[in-house]
């Protein structure tokens, strides 16, 4: 049992570190709420709350455009990754064929190599086919990268489905296709949700790939837009802070509701290369 003193001490430590984790982010929020006139080059504490910075950032920074790009790219990557990972995960978990484990390990390479490794040749390949500066140049490579994790994740989950469930479906005469979509996919909803959240977050936060592939301003993703916005707004931190919140909010909001999925997914050894 925990003594009262020990418990108080544990709470104190946890509070201290929660505060340390939150303080820089609270600084951003409080600066964003500071009226532009009171704003300085760093964090500010508002005398009265003002939401004007958000509309200023939204207008000046073209964040409506950037968020649309990010949303379009992230949702496409999530959807594509989910479908392809379900199919491949099913293949690696339930079929028997030569080269199966070799192919599986080949997909895992994507977990270990950083994007820095393939972004250069990828850029020249896509440039030669005229795909740079298009959403495809973001969607397809990021799907490839997410697939390494997705296939690994879905295969593990499909393997953990009790054999009796699969046998029962087979006895009912279910085809492979039906078994996958009617039995396995519905039972793997929590795993799918975790995967979708992680892939959404990775894609949303990705910076290098859009930086390399996109020159057209109207196709910039939110983090890329923020980086350009930052270099133009060094004196008025409140507007930059508001822009930062706009960029971080979609992921942070989903994290607030689904933090268990985020944490368990990321800690289960999800090394996205």
């Amino acid at each position: 049992m925990i003594s009262g003193r020990e418990r108080a001490f544990n709470y104190a430590i946890l509070t201290l570190f929660a505060a340390l984790a939150l303080l820089p982010l609270i600084g951003v929020v409080s600066s964003a709420l500071t009226p532009a006139a009171e704003s300085g080059p760093s964090f500010t504490w508002p005398h009265h709350l003002d939401l004007g910075n958000f509309s200023t950032a939204w207008r000046q920074g073209h964040f409506a455009t950037y968020l649309t790009s990010s949303l379009l790219v992230a949702l496409s990557v999530v959807l594509l990754t989910a479908v392809l990972a379900i199919l491949a995960g099913f293949s690696f978990a339930h079929f028997d064929y030569p080269g199966r484990s070799v192919l599986f390990y080949v997909t895992l390479i994507g977990l270990m190599v950083p994007p820095e490794a393939f972004v250069i040749p990828l850029y020249f390949n896509l440039r030669d086919t005229g795909l740079t500066d298009s959403y495809w140049s973001l969607i397809l490579p990021q799907t490839a990268q997410s697939l390494a994790f997705g296939v690994f994740w879905m295969r593990n989950f499909f393997r953990s489905v009790p054999v009796s469930v699969i046998e029962a479906a087979r006895l009912d005469g279910a085809s492979d296709w039906r078994l996958l979509w009617r039995i396995l996919v519905p039972t793997s909803r929590p795993a799918l949700l975790t995967m979708a959240m992680l892939v959404f977050m990775w894609t949303w936060n990705e910076f290098l790939l859009p930086l390399v592939m996109i020159t057209d301003e109207s196709k910039r993703t939110a983090p890329l837009g923020l980086a350009f916005f930052q270099s133009e707004h060094t004196t008025q931190y409140s507007v930059l802070a508001a822009a930062s919140i706009i960029v971080a909010l979609p992921v942070v909001a989903s994290y607030v509701f689904l933090q268990r999925h985020f944490i368990s997914g990321m800690l289960s050894g999800a090394v996205k290369g």
Partner: protein
């Protein structure tokens, strides 16, 4: 990844279980359909990841500016990494960052997890966990803008230092040659400590309580308890934490791109930043590819070493 990759792979098919596919039990017939299901994913992976990876190695053996005809370079681009002081510095900076991203957070988180041994069973611990873990999900660009405000010449840090009379210490932290790299490193410490702490608290929750009781009965103090029970019990989690944070340190790009652009001078230049800069800034594509190959090799080697040094455990 490494920890979870080695799950037991034996197919659990009870002998004699009723099945419609007797062929499968014999394990002789090839289930061709399996290739079909894996094909779409493998195609995307091949075209957008594996082929570029091969091309990377190929380009690294040429002098190429990205436009004109490339010329054979052999290993010139690689020997340049050893010779060029700026590139050598980049790799050296990476190893300094490992100290800040991995060693300090893991050491701190271990001590904290040890003193909060029973924290996993506290009420409301999931709320704390969510807050401590939050830096992991915030876009790096946002983190960088938050910290540039803290480190700014008139930023929070300097204001605080002046308020307690340490004006001489105050400086533009990211603009000062001697402090820029540690300042970037500290952002990494802030980023990773939550990850390590959450991992270790979860890990301690899985250590059987009897082990702690046994240690207490043997008269072990808190220090001996830590080395005899907590530390061995967290081996798997430490491996995961090391892998994740070392990779994060070596891959650092966004943070430096937004916060310092590698400066001042090249005080915070890092391999990943040099890869980008040379390929898309200064037109040294061959050299950039050689750096990328080297960086990838270092990452793979360190990941391999981390998982090898730890005795194999059946860990989930």
């Amino acid at each position: 990844m490494a920890a979870t990759a080695h799950r037991p792979t034996a197919r659990k098919r009870p002998a004699g279980a009723p099945t419609r596919e007797p062929v499968r039990r014999r394990g002789r017939v090839i289930q061709w359909k399996g290739y079909l299901y894996a094909l779409p994913a493998l195609t995307v992976l091949t075209v957008f990841l594996l082929v570029p990876l091969g091309q990377l190695v190929q380009i690294s053996l040429f002098h190429w500016d990205g436009i004109s005809v490339s010329t054979w370079a052999g290993f010139d681009n690689y020997t340049e990494i050893a010779r060029d002081p700026q590139l050598r510095a980049g790799f050296l900076h990476s190893f300094v960052l490992i100290l800040f991203f991995s060693v300090i957070p893991i050491a701190l988180a271990l001590v904290l997890a040890a003193v909060t041994t029973r924290a996993g069973r506290l009420r409301g611990v999931s709320v704390f966990r969510a807050m401590i873990f939050l830096p992991q999900v915030v876009a790096m660009v946002v983190t960088a803008t938050a910290w540039t405000a803290i480190y700014a010449p008139d930023g929070v840090l300097n204001t605080a230092l002046r308020a307690i009379g340490l004006e001489t210490v105050a400086r533009p932290w990211l603009g000062d040659f001697s402090t820029a790299l540690p300042a970037v490193g500290l952002i990494g410490t802030w980023l990773e400590i939550g990850l390590c702490l959450v991992l270790f608290i979860a890990g301690i929750g899985q250590i059987p309580a009897e082990l702690y009781e046994a240690a207490k009965l043997d008269g072990a103090g808190p220090v001996r308890e830590f080395f005899a029970v907590t530390l061995p019990g967290l081996r798997g989690q430490i491996t995961v934490a090391l892998t994740l944070t070392v990779i994060a340190a070596l891959r650092t790009f966004d943070l430096v791109y937004v916060a310092t652009h590698g400066g001042p001078g090249n005080a915070t230049s890092l391999p990943a930043y040099e890869v980008y800069n040379r390929a898309f800034g200064t037109g040294q594509v061959g050299s950039a590819c050689a750096i990328a190959v080297t960086l990838t090799a270092v990452i793979l080697l360190l990941t391999f070493l981390i998982t090898k040094v730890q005795p194999q455990e059946d860990e989930t």
